[in-house]
Symmetry: none
Subunit: 223 residues, 2 copies
């Protein structure tokens, strides 16, 4: 059993909250109790609970206790929590809306340096020998396209999607669906996107990206 640190305790608490613990009265146990339960100092628990407080999961009152804010479906925290539970199929559908648009924006707005960074990521991905490296630079290729879309909100949505894609169900799917042949397909499809970007052809970039995402969806979801 690894040693518990504040961050781990924050994660453990979140998990227990999301499992419906302490829902009857919305009140968490006193910090001193949690400390002895987890076998750590109260200061450590305090830091963990502060993390929950920072992301709006709980509120604290001196003399009264610490209370869950869940139940307010309109909070940022609750929205993000629900997002983690949505299906890969739903996200793929939205990716097919957003990424072609991002590619289109990028073709119009990117600087030469930014496009170079995209090309760089593509090159490394294609040259990479092992699957983990390919995964990483594949993601980086997509990320860099968003980065030159010049729309910060779009960039952050993509960030959210990227984080979610690195969590449970996606992980299994990516592992299952990987093969050398598919890697080659992705490379050539990325090449088409890149060519369109370099030619400043926004419609072409959008179309190439859509084609690519349909391939990815087919591979991941097996349709």
């Amino acid at each position: 059993m690894p040693k518990l640190v504040a961050n781990d305790i924050a994660i453990a608490l979140k998990k227990r909250i999301s499992l419906g613990e302490w829902l009857e009265n919305g009140r968490m146990p006193p910090e001193r109790d949690l400390a002895s339960e987890f076998g750590v100092a109260r200061n450590t628990v305090r830091r963990a609970v502060s993390m929950l407080e920072d992301d709006g999961t709980v509120v604290r009152h001196v003399g009264r206790g610490t209370f869950l804010t869940a139940g307010n479906p309109d909070s940022m925290a609750a929205t993000v929590a629900r997002m983690e539970g949505t299906s890969p199929a739903d996200m793929m559908e939205i990716r097919q809306l957003l990424e072609p648009a991002a590619a289109s924006f990028a073709a119009t707005n990117a600087s030469a340096g930014e496009l170079n960074a995209v090309r760089e990521a593509h090159k490394i991905a294609c040259a990479s020998q092992d699957m983990p490296t390919f995964e990483h630079w594949d993601a980086e290729f997509h990320h860099r396209i968003f980065a030159c879309s010049r729309n910060d909100f779009l960039k952050e949505i993509h960030n959210l999607m990227r984080i979610l894609r690195n969590q449970r169900p996606w992980f299994e799917m990516k592992k299952r669906s990987f093969s050398e042949e598919r890697r080659a397909t992705y490379c050539s499809e990325h090449q088409l996107v890149l060519d369109a970007l370099l030619a400043r052809d926004s419609e072409g970039a959008s179309a190439a990206m859509l084609t690519h995402l349909r391939t990815v969806e087919r591979n991941l979801l097996g349709r």
Copy 2:
């Protein structure tokens, strides 16, 4: 057994990361532990981890540890925080991508009851006399369309946007831009969207929504 060198260890680590190890809290074991686990000197592990760092696979903090950049639970909160700082113009651009799509999905997927709820929100918005009431039911109209899009991820993105729009800069803008004439325009544009939804005309719904959002953007951002 061949002797392990830094490069081998880097690959081994990447593989373990890509297999989802250390995903719970996004934290790798200390270099000293890895060194003894792989049976090599700490310097060697350090070089291997440096390769991962160069890749961008991990980030290191003195005194804290080495963390995966993907699947890092904090990054979710940070992303949302950054989102709060993005510009209304950027968000409006994305709304023009997502809301027509949501309307299109809704035209196809909504149940009769759900469409009734949309109609209800529209009716109250049109009948409302004061600006806050109108604002509320206007937002509800859009929200209910997303609700019948049958895509949970899309719904949650819209939730995020809605929460952000209830915060500072937006609130001022909405107040400034409100006028009786604009309210009437919005009502008639909503009517067109609603008509298309009821006719199950997904292209029409999408187009009507896009027209509406362009009006909104013009009014809010003064373009």
